[in-house]
């Protein structure tokens, strides 16, 4: 276990270093004037790269992680946006695990046409682009509003309703994924000896499923949680982007120079905020690692309890 933690720590450090190295790649804009035209060219300048890196390292050495473009500490920035995202992720994970398990139970418990098609839908959906599905869902909801369905806020992060809507959208794909995992793990238990024995003794199928199959499958299910989580993070960007949820992904996306621009704003390159990118990416990496470690610890606990 200790080796595992050390290994994870080492990996984490490597990742952060890679992020810093990438984020500070020089994109120095040089303005070239030709006749009456002026345009910017991004150049690669190794010396500048060194300077930027050492500047950054020196800043960290001085105890600061940098500032955003308004001169506020990136940590304050991170705190604001990341806490929103964390709440969203939390709610979505709970929904995903709950719905996923319920669906898996339904799919394995029943063999009818509904269960089978529910299963197929679950598998098929994973092959679809999430953003397309989200757009379609949005359109359907907007259409419902026009039909007189009570309106609620679809965009942003201020209202409870938009928050929940985003959480539901976010949980959509992970719960399908989770349901598939749980279902196939449950099924892999199917043929095992103790089940046949229990069935023979007339134990109810639902009891069997929950008390035995699920309990037995728990370790392997928990092992899948980090993957589901990665899934969730990937979806998070799309959800935040499409619902204008001002969370950490959205902020990272902004810091990468993507702003809603209008005629009067400046070109995007000028908005790239390297320290912000580094901090947010580190945040997401750390999240990944934490979930990874958490799932490992959980697995260990569960297995140990079962062994004892």
């Amino acid at each position: 276990m200790r080796i595992f933690l050390l290994q994870q720590l080492f990996l984490w450090v490597c990742m952060v270093v890679v992020v810093v190295l990438i984020a500070f790649l020089p994109r120095d804009l040089v303005f070239v004037s030709e006749e009456y035209e002026t345009y910017g060219i991004a150049t690669m300048n190794m010396q500048l790269y060194g300077e930027r890196l050492s500047e950054y390292v020196a800043m960290i050495g001085a105890g600061s992680l940098g500032e955003n473009r308004y001169g506020t500490s990136v940590l304050v920035d991170l705190h604001l946006y990341a806490s929103r995202s964390l709440q969203l992720i939390g709610i979505a994970s709970i929904i995903a695990i709950f719905i996923g398990t319920a669906k898996a139970y339904f799919d394995t418990r029943y063999k009818g046409i509904f269960a089978r098609s529910s299963r197929k839908i679950g598998q098929g959906m994973q092959a679809l682009p999430d953003f397309f599905i989200i757009i379609v869902v949005q359109m359907v909801v907007l259409w419902l509003f026009r039909q007189g369905f009570p309106q609620f806020s679809l965009y942003g992060n201020e209202d409870l309703s938009s928050f929940l809507f985003a959480a539901v959208l976010l949980s959509l794909f992970p719960s399908m994924y989770f349901a598939n995992i749980v279902a196939s793990t449950l099924e892999s238990e199917e043929g095992s000896f103790y089940l046949i024995a229990a069935k023979g003794r007339g134990v109810k199928k639902s009891v069997l499923l929950i008390k035995h199959q699920l309990a037995n499958a728990l370790p392997s299910i928990i092992q899948q949680i980090p993957i589901m989580f990665m899934y969730l993070l990937s979806n998070l960007l799309m959800v935040e982007f499409l619902t204008s949820f001002r969370g950490a992904m959205y902020r990272t996306y902004q810091a990468m120079g993507f702003q809603e621009t209008s005629l009067e704003s400046l070109p995007n390159q000028f908005y790239i905020e390297e320290p912000v990118i580094v901090v947010y990416l580190t945040f997401f990496i750390s999240l990944g690692f934490l979930v990874n470690i958490g799932s490992r610890v959980m697995t260990e606990i569960v297995t140990r309890r079962r062994l004892s």
Binding site: L11, Q126, P129, W143, N180, Y231, F258, I285
Partner: protein
Amino acid sequence: MSGPSPGSTKQVNTEPPMPEAKEQKKSYSPTKLIVKRFFANKLAVAGVFMFLLVVIFSFSAPLFVEHDPAQTNPLNTYAEPSADHWLGTNSSGQDNFARLVYGGQISLQVGVFIMLIVSVIGVVLGSISGYFGGWIDSIIMRVTDLFLIFPFLLLVLTVVTILQNVNVAILVITLGLIVWPNITRILRGTYLTLREREFIYSARAAGATDLRIIMKHMIPNAIGPIIVNATIIMAQMIILESALSFIGFGIPAPTPSWGAMLNEARSLNILTGMPWAWMPPGIMIVITVLSINFIGDGLRDAFDPKSSRK
């Protein structure tokens, strides 16, 4: 599924088929048997059919599309479908139908090329890792860990942001360099089991070099998982490319792209009022990806009947 989940259920870690298939009741060769099993799978055949349609649709574009997908017409923006513009025009007055068709070429190209790059990297590294084991294996595996733990889309975004001026080639290479760990891991697993097979031992005993063993014995026997995973990668990459274009980080305008077309649906008016502008590219992505997935499932079942699920 824009961020292909590492090792999702779709990633099949099929057991390599035995070199001599046991069920050779008749005189079918293993290859023929695979083909036969594949074509017995209705969904897979439908997949092939759909996929071919998409390919033909996209690549025969010059024959039936008279508009240039990049040609803007500022006086005819947001046009409704008409005989001239079958799917109307977009915000720059470009013909949506032409963009749909030519966008397919881009999507398919991106999918195929990334698939090739990733397969090559995956096979090479997977072979090295799985065959030799030891320290080189653990290094490669730790590196794949690094990639797998990272929010995938974000990594791509970061790289694309830094690179700026993205074109198809740059995008393909970037994605290829980021996506390889998945397939590498799976192939490594395959090789680990293969390594313990008798025929490898005998080849080694006969004095074959490592390279020869890998090339002559291991790769041919791992061809099933390689092909299956390659198709899956291709489907994922098509989605990924459209996702990137969708959020504005993909191949820049005026190159047509399905994702970029979908982006227009972010405007409320277009989302609710002009479904013809964004539904078709969405449906095309779904059709393409589904057909590739059907093919992948069919191939998996054909290569390894045991893995097929009820």
